[in-house]
Symmetry: C2
Subunit: 284 residues, 2 copies
């Protein structure tokens, strides 16, 4: 499918993609790029990449570049690739960032036509990070959002990126970047902030593990995620997350009001609505 | 250990306790009491109880009574048991409610001395309910909070209740009811309200299951719990939960402020603090 693939960022997502590309024979070689030679070496030892370099420019040209860095690093790499892409007609570029509007918007400005970049967000991974957790099945059955093709993207690049994500096991869902960011702000980004705040609230009263049940562990598991990634997600989807937080505060206010007045029927109704809401959105 | 045990309320916790008592030979017979004859019959068919009745008065005297109803129903049963307890010297009473200050306070008023009731809260169960989910191992290795004995409790009753919870597999932790309710408001009750509000926020933008990852499922799992129980928990621990909600809002405000100003370093610090806080309280 590809000759030479470059994966920039060999954390959980990048290293797992490298493994999937290699184990499924989807490319001849995978080259890793990152800031930290030790992490790159670890990824190589694990079989995620064939070779590596700390500079993207050193390993181009390539016919596939996947940007698997924290979200805020993607724009810089897009600009570097724009400089380079004049001399490489068939390079396609995709990414894995959890926010899409800012990144896809920049790409549309960099390449007003024949854009080689197609934004993607595979819903894989979790609170673990680093190549040591990588596995070639990480993407199996994961939803992968791919931005809609209506925005000046080169049709061949589009086809190849969709094929790539399908080939590593994803279920591709096309979506415009703004809708993506709105939905994810509610189903992923707000839950992360909420879980982080819960962990902090429990620590402030000095709760210890005797007071911790499975409910707390589950509710706060995502707060164990990597701070750098979540900082970037917040910074690149600020308005939607702020809007989600405002909505969340209003809903919490409904519970507070019912608590203040001791409104048992109101509380029961809210908890019933919440259970129904969860059933509705999770489909189970 | 006991001759005749009465379990009031044969949901997940009550039916599982009946199974544990019977399978471990901790009493000669277990009688279930509840409002719904169908549920009682189901519990009997599952081997959780030997017999049942819809009226507590009909099945007394007993040497053990466990109140395993939703929390708000416990006070009524305590009052009924007070009426009866004059004629039965060796009856001991315990409960499983998730809030303790209101219940233990009432018991202390009902029995100013030689109190036969010892409040307990085994941290077992989850978002499932009903006798169909019961199992005799539910209490194995669960922490069971038992109120401290300094408040007029009959020493023999105290010893027998602690032995009971140990005998079904719990790790007993003694605690005063106020501290219990404060800690649990942060580690259980607030997380429940927070999860319920998250599910509602996601439903309000019409998110569907394609946008739902494991993070959301975990973070909101407890919102699938039984509304009636959570209504009662809220009503019987109002002040602490309101205080927890105020604290939670303040912490969410720190995230909002950092988002408003695009303060990346501040956001990263908050997420780092949250991860550390979670590690600290969960002990893992």
């Amino acid at each position: 499918m590809f000759d030479r693939a470059v994966v920039v960022g060999v954390g959980l997502l990048g290293a797992s993609l490298g493994m999937a590309l290699r184990s499924r024979g989807l490319c001849r070689s995978v080259v890793g790029v990152g800031r930290n030679p030790e992490t790159l070496e670890k990824a190589r030892e694990q079989g995620a990449i064939d070779d590596f370099d700390v500079r993207l420019e050193h390993v181009l040209p390539a016919d596939l570049v996947v940007l698997a860095t924290p979200p805020a690093a993607v724009p810089g790499y897009l600009q570097a690739l724009k400089q380079f892409s004049g001399s490489s007609g068939d390079m396609v570029i995709t990414d894995v960032a959890s926010t899409k509007a800012a990144i896809c918007g920049l790409a549309a400005r960099l390449w007003p036509e024949n854009r080689p970049f197609v934004g993607a967000h595979p819903m894989a991974g979790g609170e673990k990070w680093g190549p040591e957790w990588a596995n070639p099945q990480l993407y199996q059955n994961a939803v992968c959002f791919v931005e809609r093709s209506e925005t000046g993207i080169d049709p061949m690049a589009y086809t190849r990126v969709v094929k790539l994500w399908n080939a590593v096991g994803c279920r591709v869902v096309e979506i415009d970047p703004q809708s993506h960011d709105r939905f994810l702000s509610r189903t992923s980004h707000l839950p992360h902030v909420a879980a982080a705040a819960l962990a902090m609230a429990a620590a402030r009263v000095g709760a210890d593990s005797r007071f911790i049940g499975n409910g707390f562990r589950d509710a706060t598991r995502i707060a164990a995620g990597r701070a750098e990634i979540w900082r970037d997600i917040c910074l690149t989807n600020r308005q939607e997350i702020l809007e989600a937080l405002r909505e969340y505060s209003k809903i919490l206010g409904l519970f507070s009001d019912a608590l203040e007045t001791g409104d048992g029927a109101g509380l029961e109704k809210l908890f019933d609505q919440a259970r129904e809401a969860r059933r509705e959105v999770t489909g189970s």
